[in-house]
């Protein structure tokens, strides 16, 4: 019994020990002192991180629309298609950078890396784009655990990054160094660094962890304490503050300073991801000082929580251990019996879940629960139905490997749906082409007849004649050329009268008639002259309108003729494209389905391994509880105290 404290302190020490881990397997990194970049920041492509751009191409705008709507998959599909169709030329480099970033956000690290490397290999890529390409390449390499190469890429940035990206670059370099155990170099990178508030807090946390791991405990503790005492309402920083206090608490426990450890652990919030570990550590800090009565309080609080958490499992042994130390043997027995019962029940539930996962029900539950786009989807997993397939999802999804795996599975699911959609669309395109060909053939004779009725050359000729007449009238100031029909009749009548009067030349009895004819002609000429300008303006306007109508008719006619000739060819070309794409889509769908199935199996394996690990831990605890209870019974039986 007395060895329990030593065992648990050894476990705590292991948590806090400097261990180099891989960024892709966070579970192997000691929780309390793992470097911290901010879960909300890493591996995301933040739309706000895109520089302002004036859209010069509608297709690029379309891509950005989906990107800003956070539909990264659709954005990537469109971006790739438009790129292939050479629609993105005005934004070619920005588009490439975005494409690499989208691949990165979807966890397609190889494609992301190749995209950034292509951009960097192009000597004409401008400096700013190069800097961002180096940055994102560094991120890809970091995410895949290539810390040396990542550092080289991140250091190749020449200072053209926005402040947020620059801060992230600095922390990525430091964190990579820490993962490689180069704590002094990490300290040199972070010491004295000042960035935006949030990033500075992360920097100090990492600096504190690096200092502790570099055996410069005093300064490390002080740095962690700075973060642990942050006054903030920002949820992200409050979470970091909890982490700092937890790391500090365990570091102090390891350093044999339980009272100071307890003070740090006291600052951790009761409702948060670090709470359980903090409660366990707080109890051990009290126990290390011999205050088992006080140790019971955090441990009993922990005892009522979810048994799947390792700290809670530990509390099922810690509580009776404390009662035994307080000579409350009856209560110790009660808690040990409860522990055995709880461990056994949990083991059965885990076995049921493993069977459900083997039967393939996990992914259905995971996808049903995961509404991807919802920001609070992970929190809602805590209220999932208590079914074997969904009971442990929350815990599984808390693991980096499973979460990344599920992300890939979700991407494959999106790809499958996308390909299914295209498969349906291609079928519809084929039907549509058939229907259009049939409709075209049906309308063709009537259209040919109508086209034959239209003589564009004759229309042009008549328009040219009219134009020539107008120009002649203008040149000669021929007012009669613009006379109305009535005026023309008057003029014709006057010409007749003049001819009659000429036949009676010298006959004075016609003098009055001659005078009237002269007056009438004078009035008519006067009137024609008076409206000349107006009529010229009207005639010119009419001519312009005629020009437009004739041009329109000519264009329509040419279009109709072209359509008449080109439509069957275009339909045939489209049919060829549809026929060529269909097998490609089918082939891709088969590949995606196979990959999805393999990924599903991989996820099931991860889940089963995780649950088996849980079961093994429960078994270990169960063994300890059974031994403890046997020895207590033994003492009770023999009358020993």
């Amino acid at each position: 019994m007395a060895s329990r404290l030593n065992i648990v302190l050894a476990v705590l020490a292991a948590w806090a020990a400097p261990v180099a881990g891989s960024a892709t397997a966070d579970d192997s990194v000691p929780v309390a002192t793992a470097p911290e970049l901010g879960a909300a920041r890493i591996n995301t492509l933040d739309p706000a991180g895109l520089p302002a751009v004036k859209i010069q191409d509608l297709h690029y705008g379309d891509v950005l629309f989906h990107f800003y709507a956070r539909d990264h998959f659709e954005a990537l599909v469109r971006l790739s298609a438009y790129r292939e169709q050479r629609h993105l030329n005005p934004h070619a480099r920005d588009a490439e950078l975005l494409r690499g970033g989208l691949y990165l956000s979807l966890g397609q690290h190889r494609e992301a890396r190749e995209t950034f490397e292509r951009l960097l290999a192009d000597t004409t890529t401008p400096g700013q784009v190069r800097d961002r390409a180096w940055f994102y390449l560094g991120k890809v390499l970091y995410a895949t655990g290539h810390f040396d190469q990542s550092e080289r890429a991140l250091r190749a940035v020449s200072g053209g990054l926005q402040i947020e990206l620059e801060s992230e670059r600095r922390l990525l370099i430091a964190q990579g160094l820490m993962y490689r155990g180069q704590f002094d170099a990490a300290i040199a990178e972070l010491d004295g660094w000042q960035g935006p508030d949030n990033w500075t807090a992360y920097g100090r946390f990492n600096l504190g962890v690096a200092l502790v791991r570099a055996n410069r405990a005093e300064r490390g503790h002080a740095m962690l304490e700075q973060v642990g005492l942050l006054q903030t309402t920002d949820p992200e920083l409050r979470s970091l503050r909890d982490k700092a206090n937890l790391a500090l608490g365990y570091a102090l426990l390891q350093a044999g300073q339980p009272v100071a450890a307890r003070t740090a652990l006291d600052r951790v919030r009761l409702e948060g991801p670090q709470a359980n570990k903090a409660l366990l550590g707080a109890g051990w800090a009290d126990a290390a000082g011999g205050d088992y009565q006080q140790a019971l309080v955090p441990w009993v609080e922990l005892h009522g929580r979810d048994l799947l958490d390792a700290a809670v499992q530990e509390s099922y042994l810690a509580v009776p251990y404390a009662y035994a130390e307080l000579s409350a043997i009856g209560q110790a027995v009660g808690y040990y019996e409860q522990a055995i019962e709880a461990y056994d029940a949990e083991r059965i539930r885990i076995e049921e879940s493993i069977a459900a996962i083997r039967a393939g029900r996990l992914l259905t539950a995971a996808l049903a629960a995961d509404r991807g786009a919802r920001s609070d989807w992970f929190a809602q997993l805590t209220s999932l139905p208590d079914a074997p397939e969904s009971r442990y999802l929350y815990h599984l999804l808390a693991g980096h490997e499973f979460q990344e795996g599920l992300k890939s599975y979700r991407s494959l699911e999106s790809m499958a749906q996308n390909l299914d959609g295209w498969s349906t669309s291609l079928g519809a395109f084929s039907d549509m082409l058939g229907a259009r060909a049939s409709a075209f053939a049906g309308k063709l004779p009537a259209a040919d007849r109508r086209l034959a009725m239209v003589d564009v050359a004759d229309i042009n000729r008549r328009r040219d004649e009219l134009r020539a007449q107008l120009e002649a009238a203008l040149r000669d100031r021929d007012t009669t050329a613009l006379a109305t029909e009535a005026e023309r009749q008057w003029l014709a009548m006057l010409a007749g009268v003049d001819a009659e009067l000429a036949a009676h030349a010298g006959d004075t009895s016609f003098d009055e008639a001659r005078e009237k004819a002269r007056l009438t002609r004078g009035v008519l000429t006067w009137n024609l002259d008076a409206v000349w300008k107006t009529r010229v303006w009207q005639a010119q306007r009419a001519m312009r309108e005629l020009d437009a109508v004739v041009y329109d008719a000519r264009t329509r006619h040419a279009g109709a003729v072209k359509a008449r000739k080109g439509t069957p060819e275009r339909a045939a070309a489209l049919a060829v494209r549809v026929d060529a794409v269909s097998p490609r889509v089918t082939g891709l769908a088969v590949r995606v389905a196979a990959t999805k199935e393999a990924q599903g199996r991989r996820l099931a394996d991860i889940a089963i391994n995780e649950l088996e690990e849980q079961r093994r831990r429960l078994d270990e605890y169960s063994v300890q509880a059974r031994y403890a209870i046997a020895t207590i019974y033994d003492r009770a039986s023999s009358g020993a105290p």
Binding site: L326, S637, S638
Partner: protein
């Protein structure tokens, strides 16, 4: 069940008090206290103790030191049970089964933990068992030879005629 109720109530009590007091941090729990009732466990009969050790050993896991100690204690308890059953020794066959179980457990202990700190005590008890069984016709010659060999290795078993009660490891 009574104990489980008590422990459950203690947990609920602390949680309820924490909620009532608006506890937000681990430190806010400091004002609380868990109920402690100092006192021994309820008396337990020997069969239950043996059963508890058996259940532990059935798991076939855990710290080797704990397992060795459990083997030793269970073997001792089997011998005590044999003694109790034999009573005044008038029934020749009484306690035989427990004695054989004890021998098996001691042998297992010798195989699994030859460097056990109480190996002398184990060998001594084994020697006593062998004496018990030697006098019985059911003991095979092979087992007897083996037990004599094991007993001969013991440097602390000069008094093979008497069994002593083995203490619990403190």
């Amino acid at each position: 069940m009574n104990r489980k109720w008590q422990s459950g109530i203690a947990g609920l009590l602390i949680a309820a008090m924490a909620i009532a007091a608006g506890a937000e941090t681990v430190g806010d729990l400091r004002k609380k206290a868990a109920p402690v009732q100092v006192g021994p466990a309820q008396p337990v009969d020997a069969a239950k103790v043996r059963e508890a050790y058996r259940r532990f050993l059935e798991l076939n896991a855990g710290d080797p030191e704990m397992r060795a100690e459990a083997l030793r204690r269970l073997a001792d308890l089997e011998l005590e049970s044999a003694d109790a059953e034999r009573g005044d020794g008038t029934t020749a066959a009484a306690g035989g089964e427990q004695t054989r179980a004890a021998i098996a457990l001691y042998e297992r202990l010798l195989a699994e933990a030859p460097d056990h700190p109480r190996i002398d005590s184990v060998l001594y008890q084994l020697d006593v068992c062998s004496s018990d069984l030697w006098s019985r016709s059911t003991q095979t010659a092979a087992t007897s030879r083996k037990l004599i060999f094991v007993a001969a290795k013991s440097f602390s078993a000069p008094d093979a005629g008497r069994r002593r009660k083995s203490p619990m490891r403190q």
